[in-house]
């Protein structure tokens, strides 16, 4: 059954329909929250708050189509409230200080390896690439982790992403481009995982 039908039934009090809706989206929402929030606890709280808000607001979904953008907007708010609740904790997670925040795209491209030989490890070993990407992602500023998650992992369109982030399409494209270059730069600074070094020494 499609999201719109499940949410329509949920709005009428059908808990079983909402159970199906939760099952369809819980993993993606959890990944978004985890990557967005960084290495902090309480992501489970944000997950619960997201689906509670979705249950209570099921009648506000305007289909047709996937409810993912609607649900992720709720998740984003839930995370924001969670961060605000924490006393003394910065809303922004750690970023990679070595990477420039305001450089032009071509300067970022140089940091990301333009003009240097390609790192063959990334091109020849998919499992290693995944492992290193995960490490490299965690070093990015939260806004860049978020946009990469939405666009590259969850397959949101440019327009959906801009809408969710409440920014213009050109601003979304600019942030995405910067995030991709920062990711490539972060990868270059990522140490070779020690448990794999024996394979590639």
């Amino acid at each position: 059954m499609e999201d719109a039908a499940l949410l329509c039934a949920s709005a009428a009090g059908d808990t079983r329909a909402f159970g199906h809706f939760v099952h369809a989206h819980e993993a993606a929402v959890h990944r978004y929250l985890r990557i967005h929030a960084g290495p902090v606890a309480d992501v489970d709280d944000a997950l619960q708050e997201t689906f509670i808000a979705a249950w209570r607001g099921a009648s506000t979904f305007r289909g047709p189509g996937s409810a993912k953008p609607w649900l992720f907007a709720i998740a984003r708010n839930a995370l924001r409230h969670l961060v605000r609740r924490r006393v003394g904790e910065p809303a922004q997670m750690e970023s990679l200080d070595a990477l420039s925040d305001s450089g032009s795209f071509d300067e970022l491209a140089v940091e990301a390896g333009w003009g240097c030989p390609a790192d063959e490890r990334m091109l020849t070993d998919a499992a290693l690439a995944r492992e290193m990407l995960e490490i490299a992602m965690q070093r990015l500023p939260v806004e860049e982790r978020e946009i990469l998650t939405l666009r590259e992992l969850d397959g949101f369109s440019g327009a959906e992403t801009a809408d969710l982030l409440q920014i213009s399409l050109p601003a979304m494209k600019s942030r995405l481009h910067r995030a991709r270059l920062h990711l490539a730069a972060s990868l270059r600074l990522t140490e070779f995982p020690s448990h794999r070094s024996g394979l590639h020494a």
Binding site: F105, W114, L123, G158
Partner: protein
Amino acid sequence: MRDDGLNTLVAGVRCRSVLADLSDYLDGTLAADRLATLQAHLAGCDRCARFGSVAAGVLSALRDGASEAPALAPHTSESLRARLAAVMHE
């Protein structure tokens, strides 16, 4: 202005200009005229062509490695369902 070779002109376009368009190129959203210019540049510029391949490879690895989100840990799933059950039956 610092010159790391970014002002190199190939096929009538500078490397720095190609790098600014790289994301649109990788997403297939570049306008047709810009696309033709960029492709001509890449055909004659090793540095940009190599960097473009690496960037495409990184994005591909990112997408392939995580196309499906991992299932919830049992304790996460259980506490979500317990909390929802309590709310839905209020």
